[in-house]
């Protein structure tokens, strides 16, 4: 039985349609990440699932029950807000136990369960403090604690790490992954950061302007993006897009990059122009001048573990990003031959949909 099911969910704000019909099935215990650029409707989706916003049309099921019009508190969901949404006038313990207090549970029972939740998150020592006395990471944990104690069927996280600094973000990311393993709970997690999505998700849901662009596990989404949008959004630095043309040659079509035939498409291809997508790691400098194109190094980015170079080419207005092999030293101004890994090319039609991937 699916833990969460969305059926043709649509949402309008006034005349503006923000969610254009989303269908999704989430398995029990699955970690689902919604990823997409800012403003694409991720938060709106979470708010609809939680019940804070109502759908315009469509249905929502949690554990098989239709909860489309159920009050948020009765949906068995818990939400962790981007801002943490901790009550400034309550201690950590009071914040975590807020829901139990509303339900008028006995004080001793509340204290016991609050402590248990705090133990999971290792914040037992902070129970007496106020939110203003906590660091960002600690506040985050308290917010998660308030979610855990509800024992929900589905956890909802709205960009929970975006207010933390880089180092803390990595650490909390790890902890959320650990928490998921430990609780085995269903999690719907929203982020605009594709790294977070790749590292945490069982399945990634890439959203573009209120529509699902692709659903799949991280590798699928990375290796076989359904369209140019997904290809460009997932992966950092992002995929290079090179304009190319098609020439018909007998029964088949050849891809022409800057006048040279690069590869052949299996059958006759009715388009004149396509776009070629190549990830930086699938470009390399050739040893000889036998290459696909020449590029002039504009800038080198040394990140320590890996390095990237940005190349100017004669056929592409945007610089082309290439990952340097270890020990490869280049400097700005070098004019170097570049070859493309034929096994990892993505071909997109002009409209952006994927035409072919890999060995062509």
């Amino acid at each position: 039985m699916s833990s969460l099911k969305l059926q043709d969910v649509r949402k309008n704000f006034g005349t503006q349609t923000v969610i254009h019909g989303i269908d999704l099935d989430v398995e029990e215990g699955e970690f689902i990440v919604f990823v997409g650029p800012s403003g694409c409707g991720k938060s709106t989706m979470l708010r609809i699932i939680s019940g804070l916003d109502q759908v315009t049309s469509g249905r929502i099921f949690i554990a098989g029950n239709d909860v489309t019009f159920t009050h948020p508190s009765k949906r068995q969901v818990a939400m962790v807000f981007q801002s943490y949404a901790l009550f400034p006038h309550m201690t950590v313990a009071q914040n975590i136990g807020f829901g139990l207090r509303l339900a008028k549970l006995p004080k001793a029972e509340i204290a016991k369960r609050v402590f248990a939740a705090a133990e999971v998150l290792q914040i037992e020592d902070l129970l007496g403090r106020y939110p203003r006395q906590l660091s960002g990471g600690q506040r985050q944990r308290v917010a998660i604690g308030r979610a855990i104690i509800r024992n929900p069927r589905v956890f909802l996280f709205d960009e929970p790490l975006s207010n933390l600094d880089a180092a803390l973000r990595v650490q909390m990311r790890l902890e959320i992954a650990r928490l998921h393993n430990r609780l085995g709970a269903t999690i719907v997690y929203v982020t605009h950061d594709q790294t977070e999505a790749m590292t945490l998700a069982d399945r990634i849901v890439v959203i573009k302007e209120g529509e699902i662009a692709q659903v799949g596990n991280p590798l699928e989404v990375y290796e076989s993006p359904a369209n140019k949008f997904v290809a460009g959004f997932i992966g950092a630095p992002s995929m290079n897009f090179l304009k190319a043309s098609i020439r018909a040659e007998g029964g088949r079509s050849s891809i022409q990059l800057y006048g040279a035939a690069l590869a052949y498409l299996p059958d006759r291809f009715a388009r004149e122009y396509i776009e070629l997508g190549i990830r930086p790691e699938h470009l390399s400098f050739s040893e000889s001048s036998d290459c696909d194109f020449w590029g002039v190094v504009e800038l080198v980015e040394e990140l320590g573990s890996e390095s990237f170079a940005y190349l100017q080419t004669e056929f592409n207005p945007e610089p082309v990003t290439i990952r340097l092999e270890p020990n490869k030293k280049v400097k700005a101004g070098d004019k170097l031959p570049v070859s493309i890994d034929r096994n990892a090319m993505h071909v997109f039609s002009e409209s952006g949909s994927t035409v072919a991937i890999g060995r062509i």
Partner: protein
């Protein structure tokens, strides 16, 4: 550079500071001075009488009743406009249709003068054809013509109700400003956790509105100390001084009986009371600030 800034400072401050000093600070200090004299308002000469005026305060029955009335007024000021203003703000903040219009309606009395408000309410309380008695008669078996403002038991309270009618809008907008400042996700947490409206108000909104409450209460109390005009219009402190307040008593002693020295002593007492309230207010505000920032 520094010298030119100092020069500009002086140029800019000289007018506001000197006007304020001459027409507010100096008179304030002079009030202390006159409170030790027996000046009668006309005679250029007067004598120093030491603490006589303050001793008179002790024995002045009217002062005692005016002080009690002032305290009653203050307590009512804490309860009526604050409570009603909070209630209205909570209702309006729940995104009802026409919220802006409601806001304007409740706020409207603020722009009316105390004279007009007083007169309107004199009509409402009028025994024979006043609105209040008309409505009460409608619900009762006999004709009611109770003279609200002419009976010592009801005069003060009737004026306070009229005054609260005007003040409520002010409390309401301050509470509304406070409610807007509460992050909406805190309210959403309440919804997610299944809190009832009353639980949300009691456990979350009221504590978070503490700063607004401090401001509203301080403002109501201070304004109740200033409450003079509306009283002057509606009862002039009567009947039999039953609705006298300290501000009214001060006016009567100084400008009706021309005991300006004694009036100054009452003014000094008023000043000290106001000072104490302001001090309390700032202390409370700082305490609240510490918790919520």
């Amino acid at each position: 550079m520094d010298r030119s800034i100092a020069l500009w400072r002086t140029v800019f401050l000289i007018l506001p500071v000197s006007v304020f000093a001459v027409f507010v600070i100096w008179p304030l200090l002079s009030s202390f001075y006159y409170s030790f004299t027996n000046w009668n308002g006309f005679n250029p000469n007067y004598d120093f009488v030491g603490f006589d005026n303050f001793a008179k305060i002790y024995t002045d029955r009217l002062f005692a009743s005016a002080a009690i009335n002032t305290v009653i007024w203050m307590v009512a000021a804490i309860i009526l406009p604050t409570g009603l203003g909070l209630f209205l703000a909570l209702l309006i903040d729940s995104r009802v249709p026409g919220g802006t219009l409601f806001k304007s309606v409740f706020y409207l009395p603020i722009c009316l003068s105390a004279v007009v408000v007083g007169q309107v309410w004199v009509w409402i309380y009028q025994p024979d054809w006043g609105l209040l008695n008309t409505v009460l008669t409608y619900f009762s078996s006999e004709k009611i013509n109770y003279a609200w403002l002419a009976k010592p038991e009801s005069a003060l309270f009737s004026v306070i109700v009229a005054w609260s009618w005007q003040q409520t809008g002010l409390s309401m907008v301050i509470y509304l400003a406070g409610l807007t400042a509460i992050p909406s996700d805190l309210q959403e947490v309440c919804e997610l956790e299944g809190s009832s409206w009353w639980q949300k108000v009691r456990l979350v909104l009221l504590p978070l509105l503490a700063p607004a409450t401090v401001v509203v209460i301080a403002l109501s109390v201070i304004n109740s100390l200033k409450g003079f005009d509306i009283l002057f219009i509606m009862t002039e402190g009567g009947p039999f001084n039953s609705s006298d307040t300290l501000a009214m008593h001060m006016y009567n002693e100084s400008f009706r009986k021309y005991y300006m020295g004694y009036g100054s002593a009452i003014a000094v007492v008023l000043f000290l009371v106001a000072l104490a309230i302001i001090w309390l207010y700032f202390r409370q505000l700082r305490k609240v600030d510490e918790i919520y920032s």
